[in-house]
């Protein structure tokens, strides 16, 4: 009886970590102008966020620190690469491309909860701590929260 209970606890505690892979070949599929578009949008939204904060104050400006600046171009790229991959295999890739972009957006929704933690940590730590320590800790908070939530979501 006792042994059975212990085994049950061990089984419950067993954590199956979802496999995360790095695929360097994915970089080769991205054209130079696709990198340039994301650089351009990233630079522009950073400038616009600064101008808005200057004109309307930090409360309104802060909203734009979480603006989905490059999300449309990233999702479009994912859709295009997945569609091309399927079409090379002789399959109709439009539906798969859309689904891949939809899965990417679901991941971004999880990441945005991590983004909320980043903002909370930054708000609390900026006053009284070094800026670099604050930004590093907040980024670590975003990464850890996003990873944990992604793992939990995968297992539900």
């Amino acid at each position: 009886m006792g042994g059975h209970s212990v085994w049950t606890v061990v089984r419950l505690a067993k954590v199956e970590v979802m496999r995360i892979e790095i695929d360097p070949s994915a970089l080769g599929k991205t054209r130079w102008y696709e990198f340039a578009v994301r650089f351009l949008f990233g630079g522009l939204i950073t400038v616009i966020a600064g101008i808005i904060a200057r004109k309307f104050g930090p409360v309104v400006g802060g909203l734009f620190l979480a603006f989905p600046a490059i999300f449309p171009s990233s999702a479009t790229l994912i859709e295009k690469h997945e569609r091309q991959r399927k079409e090379r295999a002789g399959l109709h890739g439009a539906r798969r491309g859309r689904k891949a972009a939809g899965v990417d957006a679901a991941g971004a929704a999880i990441g945005s909860i991590g983004l909320l933690l980043f903002a909370l940590l930054a708000k609390l730590l900026f006053v009284g701590h070094s800026p670099w320590l604050t930004l590093a800790s907040s980024t670590a908070g975003w990464l850890v929260a996003s990873l944990l939530l992604w793992q939990i979501r995968k297992r539900i």
Binding site: I20, E21, A66, R98, A106, G107, K123, L135, W142, R153
Partner: protein, 113 residues
């Protein structure tokens, strides 16, 4: 003008680094996390502290929480539409942007104003 150029370059570099990280990882749901990376915030807040001080940056971070909740609403809508409807990703991701704006400014109105 020089400050704007520096802001543009730093923003472009930080956003591109996170975008490339998103390209590298598999599966796609994991790579999607990098779509909501704090790239613009990292580029902006460091410069804000240097120019306006820590308290100003803390105020921006407070508002950013509303922006992050708006991002959640936006990304959830985009995912829902792409999974269920036959629209192209570019069309969906741009036409759903008002969801971010309405949520962010709605939260600003009831919570931050």
């Amino acid at each position: 003008m020089k400050v704007l150029l520096i802001r543009f370059l730093i923003g472009g570099i930080v956003v591109s680094v996170f975008a490339v990280m998103g390209d590298l990882f598999k599966p796609k749901s994991f790579a999607g996390l990098f779509g909501a990376a704090p790239s613009v915030a990292l580029a902006t807040l460091g410069l804000t502290v240097a120019s306006d001080g820590k308290y100003y940056a803390s105020l921006e971070a407070n508002s950013m929480m509303a922006g992050a909740l708006a991002f959640f609403a936006y990304a959830s809508c985009v995912s829902w539409v792409l999974m269920r409807r036959r629209f192209k990703a570019l069309w969906v991701t741009t036409s759903v942007l008002p969801v971010w704006a309405v949520t962010a400014f709605g939260l600003w109105y009831v919570w931050l104003k």
